[in-house]
Symmetry: C2
Subunit: 435 residues, 2 copies
Amino acid sequence: MSAGDGKAPLTVGIAGLGTVGSGTLRALAANAEALALRCGRPIRVVAVSARDRGKDRGLDLSGCRWLDDPLALAADPEVEVVVELIGGSDGPAKALVEAALQAGKPVVTANKALLAHHGTALAQLAEAKGVGLCYEAAVAGGIPVIGLLRDGLAGNRVQRVAGILNGTCNYILTTMRESGREFADVLAEAQALGYAEADPSFDIDGVDAAHKLAILTALAFGCAVDFEAVRVEGIRDIAALDIGFAEELGLRIKLLGVATAEAEGVAQRVEPVMVPLGNPLAAVEGVFNAVLAKGDFVGTIMAEGAGAGERPTASAVVADLAAIARGYRRPVFGVPAAALTRARPVPAEGQIGAYYLRLMVIDRPGVIAEVAAALRDEEISVEALLQRGRAPGEIVPVVITTHETTEGRMRRAVARIDALEACLESPRLIRIEGE
Amino acid sequence: MSAGDGKAPLTVGIAGLGTVGSGTLRALAANAEALALRCGRPIRVVAVSARDRGKDRGLDLSGCRWLDDPLALAADPEVEVVVELIGGSDGPAKALVEAALQAGKPVVTANKALLAHHGTALAQLAEAKGVGLCYEAAVAGGIPVIGLLRDGLAGNRVQRVAGILNGTCNYILTTMRESGREFADVLAEAQALGYAEADPSFDIDGVDAAHKLAILTALAFGCAVDFEAVRVEGIRDIAALDIGFAEELGLRIKLLGVATAEAEGVAQRVEPVMVPLGNPLAAVEGVFNAVLAKGDFVGTIMAEGAGAGERPTASAVVADLAAIARGYRRPVFGVPAAALTRARPVPAEGQIGAYYLRLMVIDRPGVIAEVAAALRDEEISVEALLQRGRAPGEIVPVVITTHETTEGRMRRAVARIDALEACLESPRLIRIEGE
C-alpha cells in the first residue's frame, strides 16, 4: 500500500521563510511519505511568501509559487491552509491570519505575541468561520504541550501550569550556576554564541515567556487570553551570590511562568523562582524548555524538550498540519471561544508563597534580631537562616528562607528591613517553588 | 453558554469496575460540564458490566443499566462506545473488544496485554469497520504518551523510544538506592504497602513493561506489534552492591524499555540499565513513569508522570473518550493497519552498547591482567576500573566500565572471564545507556 494514494493532497501556503519556515519545508519534504500514510493524504506546499526572494535558503522551492504579498495566500484559491511564520503581534502577521480565517481557511501559526495579544478575538473569528487556528509551535517549540493540555488532559480540571518557557534565560541561568560567573558576563557570551539576541530584552525581561504563559493559561483554565494580567519580572537582577546560596539550600533558580487557578481567580506570573531539586523542573537545564501541569485526575505531569530552533519548531508546525490533514477539529483554546471566561487576576498581595530573602548587612550584634522582629510582626515564620562567614563591622550576606506566607506580608516585612540602618543594599527577594 | 446544550450525548458502556473503571466513572462525573464544553457534547455512561454487582464501589450507578454479561455491551443499541477495562490478553476482554469493533463501535481500552498480543489484528478489524481503537491508558498511565507520539511527533521519523514503564520496578530500585537494602527485602516491603502484587513476577520480571514497549514500538516506527521480539530481563538479580557502584560512577539503575530503529530492523529490549545522571530518565524516581522519544526533527523529548493508579489512568481513558466525542479519527498505530510492516528483530549479537561489569575475584596478583586480556582479545576498550578495598587472598568486587562494543563481543569476553579460576561468582553485566 502506498502513501495516501489517490487522495487529494492538503495544499499549504507558508508566509515567512526564516528559521521556522525553512525548517517546516524541510520537515515536510524529509518525511513526506510517512506523513501521507499517517494523514491519509499528502501535505503539499503550493505557495510561499517571504521578504527576500533572492536569498539562498538551501530549499528547493521549484514546486511552489512565490507570492510577494503574504496576504495573497489568504485569497489564493489553491491554498487550503495558511501557515503564518512572519512573527510580530500586529502588522502583516495579524492581517494575514485574519484574512485567512475570514476566507474560511485554517491557520497554523508559531506566533506567540499575536496570540498573547489577540488570541481570544482570533479564536472567535476562527470558530465563527468553522476553521481551526493551531499554534503548537507558539509555546515550548518542539514539545507538543498544546496537544498535551487540550487532548491529553481533556478529562481534568487543571489547577496549575508551570514552565521553563524561554531557552535563552535557562541557558544563562544554567551557565551562571555552572561557572559561578555574573549575569552580564554570561549574557555577553550568549550573545556572541548566538543564544541571545543583540537586543536581549524580549527574552531576559520575561516578555517572551509571558506571551507563552498567557496562551497556556487560556488553554489550561478555559479563560480568555489575558497577557496584561501576567506579572512579569526578568532575570537581570539575579546575582551569582544568590545562585550560590540556592545551591547550598538545595534549590535552583529558574525563570518560571506559573499560572494557578485559585478561588478568587487566576494568577499568572513570570519570575525567577527557586525550585527544589526534587521538583522535576529543577533538572531542566541549558536551552531546554519544560512544562508541568497539575490536573485533578492526572496529578502532576511534565514534558521537556527543545523549546526553540529550526527543526524542533518545524516539528510542531507539521504536527498541526497533520491534525488538519486528518480533519481534527477542536476549539482553539479547548472550549468554545464564546465560553472563554474573563478570569479575575488574583492580586499579588494575597498570593501565597515561601521566600528566599538575601540581605547585605553590617555584621554587628542586634542586626539579626531587628530583621527577625520585622518578620515576626508580619507573622512570617523563618525556616532557615544562613550567614556566610564572620566579619565584625563589615558587610556580610545573610540569607533567610521562610515558610509560606502572603506576598503582601512579605513585601511589608522587606520594606521594614530595607529601612534598617544596618541593611546596606535593597534586600533580594525570590519566591521558592514547592516540590 | 452552557455545556454542549442540545447536542446528543456520546453514550458509553464500561466493562470492568475495578480501580480504573471506578476512576473513569468518577472523572466523567467530576468534570462532566467541562468535558461537554470541550467536546461539544456530553459524555454519558449508559451501561456498565462487572463481576460483582453487590460490591460497594462508592459509585452512583443509578443512571446506567447493569449488564451481567460484558459482551452484551457490544450488542446494546444504546451504547455507542465500549470501554474495556476487564484486562487479560484473551478471554472476555478480547471477546468484547472484537465484538464491539465488529458491531462498528469505537473501543477504548487500558489493556496492554491484549494489544501486545493481538494489537495488529485488532487494528485491522477496527480500520476495516471504520472505527477507532484507543489505548492511551494502556501505556504509562496518565502520561498522554500515545497522543504525544501519534499526534505530537507526526512530522518526525522516530529513531528511538525509551521509557520507565513499570512503577513497581522503579519504586523498588529507587528504594534500594535510597536505603542500601537488598531486592528481596524491598520487594517484601512493597508488597506489604500494596505497591507490588502478591505474585509480583509480571512486574519485576519485566513482562508488563514489555507489553507496553511492544505497543510504543509499533506506534513509533509504524510496524506490526511484535511482543515476541522483545528481549526481556527483570530486576530480580540487581544487587545493592551494583546500585552502590552505579552511584559512585554517576549512574542510576533503571528498568528501561528501549526500542530503536536500526538499519537491519528494530531492536526491542526491556532490561535493567545504568543511566547517566545527565539523562533525564535518571531523575524519574519512585512510582513515576517516563517516556523519552527521539525524532529526526523534534530531537529528544521526554514526558513524565504517574504511570498507574485509579485517577491518572482514568484521565487517560477519558482523554480517549473526549477524542471520540470530538470525532477525531486516526489510524490505530499511526499508519493504516495494512501498512504496518513486519519489522525484522535485530539480533542481540550485533547490538551496540557500553557496559558495566562487576566481578567477585580473589585479590591476588595477575587476576586483573587475565580479565584485561579477555576484554582486549574481543577489542573491548576499558573506560574505568574500580576495586573497592584491598584484601590479599580474599574475595573483592572489581568493577569495569567499557566503551561501546557489540553485545556478542561482550558476552564472549564475559564467558571467558567467568571461566577464570579467580572469578568466584558469575560476572554481573549491565548495559550503560547514553546521556
